[in-house]
């Protein structure tokens, strides 16, 4: 199964929409707390959180992200901005919506629901909305929503110098127009696992840490004496019979090291109350040429070699793919039906 990838540059927001958004923003601020007394209380307003280091989720300042109310809270999940990733924002937001729907007490709406609810007006507004809180609140107001989830999938350069996708989600209190929670995950693992990363980010966005059960890692083939590091923290002592537990749900970098062996690094997404198998078999490290050849001259050669190796390692080549598709006519029926 392929993920359909489309490339759609960000759509510039019309100036008229900005003006309209400001007007509605002011109106919403003035009217907040008075127009919908019958609705359940909206979440508390914590101070805005800052994005943490790559691969580490940012926990909300408050203990919980979603109010415990008898009545279900309406949440809008907007399409993720995935233009820089050549991704399908709606498809990605479907992952967010599906994960959000697992949270009790939430009634989840997507942009499609939104469009259906407010028809042409919302279309106009959607064209002008990216991460402008006033505009987003305007959308939420249109469907009487309490919370709003928006975010993006982009590329960043990590501390190691390579590029990695970054999932950023923001939970907005649509009534008070403040950010309730923000989660940023940088992911250096397999691209195929991105939906899991997005789902995990959604869980971190909406579910308090106390309500997120940890998972565990099954380290397959773990050599005796090896060290196990999770997100650069040594967890060797927590390994029992090849199983490391507990491990917080979410994306992690798992590194297994042993002297004389090549270190093993895996990026995994741990799910709550579940075990995840991680290969921990280590290969022998190559014998350095420096042990065979000594002296300053050899060191110089190695210096050149190292340079070439870096160039080699950072140069990605590919293939030239060509094809020509003719224009078909009825005279080609035999060829098209595979008989000639």
């Amino acid at each position: 199964m392929y993920a359909t990838v489309t490339m759609v540059p960000p759509v510039p927001r019309p100036a008229s929409s900005l003006v309209f958004a400001v007007v509605v923003l002011v109106a919403a601020l003035v009217g907040a707390g008075t127009a919908r007394a019958a609705r359940p209380p909206v979440p508390p307003v914590p101070t805005e959180t800052a994005a943490g280091p790559a691969t580490k989720p940012v926990e909300p300042a408050g203990a919980g992200c979603v109010p415990a109310a008898a009545e279900r809270v309406r949440v809008i999940v907007l399409d993720l901005d995935a233009a820089a990733f050549a991704g399908d924002g709606h498809a990605l937001s479907a992952v967010v919506a599906a994960e959000a729907a697992r949270s009790p007490g939430l009634a989840v709406l997507t942009t499609r629901d939104l469009k259906a609810a407010v028809a042409h007006e919302s279309d106009r507004q959607l064209m002008g909305c990216d991460d402008d809180t006033g505009c987003l609140a305007e959308l939420a107001d249109a469907v009487d929503a309490d919370l709003l989830v928006h975010g993006s999938l982009s590329m960043t350069t990590t501390d190691a110098g390579d590029r990695a996708p970054v999932v950023s989600l923001t939970l907005l209190n649509a009534r008070a127009l403040v950010v309730v929670n923000r989660v940023t995950f940088a992911w250096r693992g397999a691209a195929a696992a991105l939906p899991d990363v997005i789902a995990s980010a959604t869980q971190h966005l909406l579910v308090p840490a106390s309500a997120r059960p940890p998972g565990r890692l099954h380290l397959v083939g773990l050599p005796i004496g090896a060290r196990v590091l999770v997100d650069a923290g040594d967890r060797t002592d927590a390994v029992q019979g090849g199983v490391l537990a507990p491990v917080a749900a979410g994306p992690h970098e798992v590194q297994v090291t042993l002297a004389g062996k090549r270190p093993s690094v895996h990026h995994v997404v741990v799910k709550g109350d579940a075990a995840l198998a991680v290969p921990a078999v280590l290969e022998d490290a190559p014998v350095p040429d420096a042990l065979v050849w000594g002296g300053a001259a050899t060191a110089a050669v190695l210096g050149v070699g190292a340079t070439l190796g870096i160039v080699w390692a950072t140069t990605r080549r590919g293939a030239t793919v060509t094809a020509d598709v003719p224009v078909w006519g009825v005279g080609d029926v035999e060829a098209l039906r595979g008989t000639k």
Binding site: T6, G318, A319, T320, V321, A323, W328, V330, R337, K340
Partner: protein, 462 residues
Amino acid sequence: MLATALAAACAPEPLPPGLLVGLGLPTAATAILSVEDDRGAPAPFDVRVGDATYRAIGQLDLPCGGQTGVRCEIALTLDPGSYRFAADVRERDRCGTVATTVTLSSGVEPVTVTREEQAAVTLRLDRTDLDDDDDGIVNALERAVCGRFDAADGALPPQACLDPDDACCSRAPSSLQGQRGAFAGGDDHVRADGTTTTVAPFALDATEATWATFARCVAAGRCLFGDSEHPARQRLADATLVVDAPVTGLLPREAEALCRFQGGRLPDDDEWDFAAAHRVDGGRGRYPFDVVGADGGDGAAVVGCREGGGLVAANHAARGQDCPDGPERVGSYGSTLVDRGQGRPLADLAGNVAEWTVERDPDAPPAPPDESSGRSSRSGVAVELSEPFPDGVLAVLSRGGAAGGIVELLENDVRVRVVPTSPDVDARLRGLAATTGVRCAYDIVDLAAAAALVVEPFCGEP
């Protein structure tokens, strides 16, 4: 903005190292490139569009569709490894429906991409027989024959034509095209030789079969399949061909295949004669038209050239006149309409082109209801004497006269009859085929239903 970005991606500018995809696509086609690793999993890769670089996973819509004469080239970069490449070429039909017409593939063996050198991959046609509506016409040909991706031929015509240059959409069709006239039969009918016969209920197409109908039959593999050198198939590649003019050049057996493709058969000569000559008083008309005066007279139609204004005639060579033009669109001669049966009136029973009829052997077993192939067993242009005749047919006839022919051939009592033992039968049939078209007949039980049948889809007015 998007259009600008896409145009930039297709411009022949220097490309960076990496995966270079170059696809020559038909006009208005787009393509979806797929990249899998050797385990069949979607492979991530970077793609440069304009000045921006995007990352795609597994699939990418190549942003080069619909650009005439521009080779779609786009630069991708991927990690070393083993990959398989594929592409779905997608086209939009005249109704706006998009479908995959052909698929391309790099083959079963994966392509190894290393850091050291650029690999060369050629995508080859993988599947060309995709047929979404399962009507026997592959998607790649639906546009060429005015079919539709999303509905079987014979379904409702499209609401509007998207491409004004589409030959099927360039003009309004005849109001009779695709309709049928039905005849109750059961009456005693007097033949030209004075003998009588009883004709069972039947229906005739309101017009002769068109080149468009023939093209669909060819595209479905039901007409002249495997005989791409046949003159009639060669005519389909003629850009000047009027697609809604009557098809000619088919031998009787080939004409029968065209009718069977439409669910019918060539008309028995008695049926055709009944439709053209039978009158309510039991007598015979001289022409299919009710009243005809060769010199104008008081008739409703003039047998003569169409040019000259006034009454519309059959573009026939009246005495002393010369009609240089060939056949026109079916149904062009309104004053030749025959409206004595039920359902739609019949056009051009006389004139425009002549029409094949047959005399069947009453003892021959009936043909199977769906003679699926219609494939010619001939090789090259050599024709054996017995082959031009449909199975179970004793004689074939050309009726009704053709544009530019002699005027007497318009008369109901005049016919050209050929039997397998006729001298120079092959040459005679080929000569007749040049001016003889195909009007198909249908066995019917329910006259009301037969009259309402539509057998040929066509473009409606935009």
